[in-house]
Amino acid sequence: MSRKQLDATLMTVAALVAFGLPLVVTSPTYLQILILLFFYAYLTTSWNLVGGFAGVLPLGHSVFVGIGAYTSTILTLQYGVSPWIGMLVGGVLAALVGVVIGLPTFRMRGAYFCLCTIAFAEGIRVMVENIDSLGPLKVNGPRGLLIPLKDPSFWHYQFMSKLPYYYIILVMLLIVLTLTWFISRSKIGYYLAAGGEEPEAAAALGVNVANCKLLSMALSCFFTALAGTFYAQLMLYFYPKGLMGLDLSFEIAFIALIGGRGTIAGPVIGALVLRPLNEFTRIYLSDMLPGLHLVIFGLILILVMLYKPQGLTAPLSAVYDKLARKITREPNAKGVAA
């Protein structure tokens, strides 16, 4: 068996397990935890398109989740448009906003960029909280939007069981992962990585760094916004502080950083580690000592940064490399860095 075959087999097995999981996990509780896990993995993978590959650290991505949720929900509530269509509209809108934000901010470096994205996101959230209606559109200020229960159907994007939500987010995750995989192996991926690491050197090699970043920002925002619609339809209720606040933005970035930003598997690994940790510590520990779970969360964050600053993907893939070499009996293959 060659290395390629091994990789392909493992991927297929992983995908099959993901698709088959609901056969084993029938409890809606655990299904919900899995849905949120995939939801965060999806969000982080979308974030990774710009935050990982373009070498910047955006800390305001929740605003695009908000744009997605608001667009599709307002279209549904006021114009009866199916959330599926609203989802795409929201995605395009978010991509446009992303480009508008990116145009000036991509000139900034490091800390300035971080703070700038925070300011944009918080500024937009505060605006939304101050706006009751925007022309004919009812935004409803800080109260947020409620989606009434409708007959469960695909068209209404509402279902009785958790299963359809599970498969929707799983498919969304697979799509964005495939896209990431494709990008990382294509010209734009190379250009992004180069521009992120050494902008001047990349420019000298014919890379229009700003344009590349804008493109990745647009893609990232588009996909992030889709998750907003998904969230709105899953919860049927959202409000600015909860959906567009910094907590979500930070959590997305943390998952990527702990998993390994700029890698394909990083966001998924990050979500696999952090989400269950988040859920179970809250379930089992918050009862006796409120806040203990967040202390543990913070400690893990610090420990990972202390010992594996590149994230958990690098050591894991090294282990996998070793194992794969043993299985495929490739004599001391030149491991290509992931």
């Binding site: 294509s186 190379y190 990349a202 090699l205």
Partner: protein, 243 residues
Amino acid sequence: MSANILEITTLTKHFGGLTAVSALDLHIEKGEILALIGPNGAGKSTVFNLVAGVYPPSEGTIRFKDAVINGRKPWDLCKLGLARTFQIVKPFASKTVLYNVMVGAFLHTNSTAKAREKAEEVMAVLGLEHLRDRLAGSLTIADRKRLEIGKALATNPELLLLDEVMAGLRPTEVDDMIAVIRGLRDRGVTVFVIEHIMRAVMALSDRVAVIHFGQKIAEGTPEAVTRDENVIKAYLGGDYDAA
């Protein structure tokens, strides 16, 4: 079309009140190796940066292949066939050597396979194949300099600007590098170098231009230039200043 691939006329650059380059005229013929030398702070790197589009000139014109390229952005110039290296090398440190070279190779193709093919070819020319899968950040200075040329070469340049690619190399490495640059010229690339190591300048260049305080003080064959009184004065003065 003139025989000159690059023509610089009355090029001037001010930084605030400081004039880094002043009314400089310079040209490079196709297939030539021109060396730009001068004491520290003479404005050599500024000239390079102006030509490479890092910043626009204050006055004067730069013609590349008969087209005025004043104020054109680096990435556009690269597409026109003008590539450069940096004095302080800028490898994509967390990526492999192959990856680094492929970034350059993507200039004329959208296909990853073709870019890899091109990159392999360039690496073979420069003798980088054995470092293919090493991370660029882990290379020695000499290999980094070589990689820097490799990246630029992968863009298929007609004119290559080399900014002190010999600095910090051991004598044997300098000899290797001289051979490499000569090889480039034999492949039809015009080369414009900034260099400090006079041995290399003498061995390499067809012509040498000397600038001092942003002004050209001499130009000619390497032998003629080293005999020029102005040049000797400038260099001695420069040395005294430095000491």
